[in-house]
């Protein structure tokens, strides 16, 4: 009796090891947005095609994800095999040697099909460190019905001053319609993304060639004054706490006449299940002013493999699959062509896609124009349009973002905010040892 139990236990242990050896498990860290959730659902196809690879998903809030990944990579914890990261992390972490270079991709991957601006944004010193899952630019959303009623016409390439003129005519707070919705919530990836593109359009830059901040220059002054004045006049109440999601909700419920934000919102504002204005949304380029350089941002969510991963080959197989043409075809087949992850491949922009997604052309042209190496009318020492790809930027961007949010709420004058931003940024940069 006893022996047979022992034999049974031994046999089950043995079979467990066989199972464990049979399949390689990949742990994928990702964020909760509709494209990623779709990938999670469709990845069953990948598991069927690759029976020796099993996928495990860890979905986290964006900031928690960043913190977890940094801890895990810095301590070589090896908890994750595939990471979902943005352009900012890809370049910085790649340079530090934390990420595997994305070389030796499958023959049918067709890297040349991926937009050069996106590819460069995910590279450091010419080496690609992440494969783009989707990419976005910033574009202008407006209400065609309100424009028609007011006898206005949105030009293909508006300027910020024109946006303010339209806002003046469309602003009807008593009817619950606000002329202009822009991000106001403080943060390097929140209000500073929008304000930096606005400042770029006014000819401003974050740093001169010697890494000296330029907030006290006339370009930044014009840009911030425009932002604060017009948001106070035509913005929704409490604009300083509005980020992407809050403005999306306002726009979808018909409270914004114009909104400038990420192109990824195109599929949300035209989705009748969540938007009350789905049939009357117009799309055009992000506004320019004295220049069009850096007027529209570029961002991408991408898949990368940490050097601490124990299953690098399988991780590469998965990353290549999820960002391949075949995946785009799978999405088109299962969920419709309008849901293909946008902005990464030229082949995505087929005639069928252009027809199904009315915002596709504007997004495509914006992405083609985006040039992170030349984000301003004047030369800059950094890479990045709405951000500066240096490790110090998260902290600097967020503290400047807080000052600008304070200017928006009226706690500070715009001039004071710029002065304070200049001082704190100059101090941080000096402490970090710039110019390097």
């Amino acid at each position: 009796m006893n022996n047979s139990i022992k034999a049974l236990v031994a046999a089950s242990c043995l079979s467990l090891t066989v199972v464990a050896q049979g399949a390689e498990t990949l742990t994928i860290a990702t964020v909760n947005n509709s494209d990623m959730i779709r990938m999670q659902r469709l990845a069953k196809t990948f598991e069927e095609q690759n029976p020796d690879i099993r996928l495990k998903w860890v979905v986290l809030e964006e900031n928690v994800l960043r913190q977890r990944l940094t801890t895990d990579i810095a301590t070589q914890g090896g908890q994750f095999d595939v990471l979902t990261i943005g352009m900012y992390e890809a370049a910085l972490w790649g340079e530090k040697g934390w990420l595997e270079p994305m070389t030796e991709l499958p023959a049918d991957y067709d890297l040349d099909d991926v937009f050069p601006s996106v590819r460069e944004g995910l590279s450091a010193k010419g080496t690609l460190y992440a494969l783009p899952f989707y990419a976005e630019a910033s574009i202008t959303y407006y209400r065609k019905d309100l424009f028609e009623q007011a006898g206005l016409e949105m030009p293909e390439q508006p300027t910020w001053e024109q946006m303010a003129e339209f806002a003046d005519k469309l602003h009807q707070p008593d009817k619950g319609v606000y002329g202009l919705c822009l991000r106001g919530k403080a943060g390097w990836g929140e209000n500073m993304a929008l304000i930096t593109t606005l400042a770029n359009a006014y000819g401003a830059r974050w740093f001169d060639e010697q890494w000296q901040p330029e907030f006290t220059g006339s370009e930044w002054k014009n840009a911030l004054n425009f932002y604060v004045d017009n948001m106070k006049k035509y913005g929704p109440p409490g604009a300083s706490s509005n980020g992407f999601n809050e403005n999306l909700a306002l726009f979808n419920s018909g409270k914004c006449a114009q909104w400038v934000d990420a192109s990824v919102a195109g599929s949300f504002v035209t989705d009748t299940s969540q938007s009350k204005v789905a049939d009357s949304v117009g799309f055009t380029f992000a506004p320019t002013q004295v220049t069009d350089k850096g007027a529209s941002w570029l961002y991408s969510w991408a898949l990368a493999i940490p050097t601490s991963s124990k299953s690098k080959d399988a991780a590469k197989t998965f990353s290549a699959w999820a960002t391949s043409k075949a995946y785009a075809e799978l999405v088109a087949e299962k969920d419709g062509v309008a849901n293909v992850p946008p902005g990464t491949r030229a082949s995505t922009y087929s005639d069928a896609y252009m027809q199904a997604a009315p915002f596709a052309k504007v997004t495509l042209d914006s992405l083609k124009k985006a040039d992170p190496a030349n984000p301003s009318a004047k030369p800059v020492p950094y890479v990045g349009i709405q951000l500066v790809t240096i490790p110090e930027f998260q902290a600097i961007g967020t503290s400047v973002g807080k000052l600008f949010a304070a200017a928006l709420t009226g706690q500070m004058q715009p001039e004071q905010a710029l002065q304070a931003a200049q001082q704190s940024t100059a101090r941080e940069m000096k402490r970090a040892g710039y110019p390097k």
């Binding site: 947005n33 959730i37 495990k56 895990d72 914890g77 999601n245 419920s253």
Partner: protein, 277 residues
């Protein structure tokens, strides 16, 4: 002019109304969470907030489709119950010795134990992460059980200590005179008397473990992730998520809420135990 009886009635009416009002304020976030979980995303974001809307269960269906709720809930149950039991096994002997064999260092030891609660957890994130990695405990339930036991231990020892303090030493001495060993003294005499207090201590420990989010988010990824990790996965950088987040939060706190409801009698008895001296 009110008679004495009338004024007493008025007084109790006012106090009653006030109690209800405070209870309503405290309960409101939970009520709002449940309400939001029954809205569509666009209704959830509506300004001004809506009280009247067409309820829908689509958020719950979405969660059921996307995540394996029961796997997360099972981890939560296993981790919280194990950590609580382990914590009690350590806390009862510690509190017993401090309550009944007090030395001049006892008070200081108690305070010193509590001082470990004053360190922000993030301050020790990297060392603990490295230790967990070293022992192969990343993404394991055991790591969370050990950490939860240790972080709750000071507060649990304190609670058990105060309950034990209220028990007259004479009872234990009587047991000793009857020839009881230390083990018998604790198990047969002390624990039955302090039952109410111990039950409420255990419930508190369970709730603390159930809701802990910092360590569970940082040390687990998939295999050992409890409900707090599930809730965190429904926040979104791009896209509306309040209704789904409310639905998943409702599901996450439902088990512990129901458990708390059932053991309410014990809890109230335990919390008021020793309140009147």
């Amino acid at each position: 002019m009110l008679t004495l009886k009338q004024s007493r009635r008025l007084q109790s009416l006012i106090i009653g109304a006030l109690a209800w009002a405070i209870a309503a304020v405290i309960f409101f976030p939970i009520f709002w969470m449940v309400l939001t979980s029954l809205k569509t995303e666009i209704d959830a974001f509506a300004t001004p907030p809506q009280f009247i809307f067409t309820p829908t269960l689509e958020n719950y269906l979405h969660i059921n489709e996307r995540s394996d709720y029961f796997a997360f809930a099972w981890n939560s149950v296993l981790i919280s119950v194990s950590a609580t039991l382990l914590c009690m096994c350590l806390a009862v002997p510690a509190a017993y010795s401090m309550a009944f064999f007090e030395t001049r260092h006892t008070k200081r030891t108690l305070l010193w134990m509590l001082s470990t609660k004053m360190l922000p957890p993030v301050g020790v994130l990297v060392p603990i992460y490295l230790l967990a990695k070293q022992f192969g405990l990343l993404d394991s339930r055991l790591a969370l059980i050990i950490i939860y036991t240790l972080i709750n231990l000071p507060i649990i020892v304190w609670m058990v200590y105060t309950y034990f303090k209220d028990i007259p030493v004479d009872i234990l001495e009587a047991a000793r005179l009857d020839g009881a060993t230390t083990w018998q003294e604790i198990v047969r005499v002390l624990l039955p008397i302090a039952r109410g207090g111990l039950a409420s201590t255990m419930l508190l420990s369970l709730i603390l473990c159930w809701n802990e989010a910092f360590w569970s988010l940082n040390l687990t990824s998939s295999a050992a992730a409890p409900l707090t990790a599930l809730v965190a996965s429904y926040s979104s950088p791009e896209g509306l998520f309040w209704a789904k987040l409310s639905a998943v939060s409702t599901l996450a706190c439902a088990p512990i809420l129901i458990f708390g409801w059932i053991s309410q009698k014990q809890l109230v008895r335990g919390l008021s135990f020793g309140a009147v001296k």
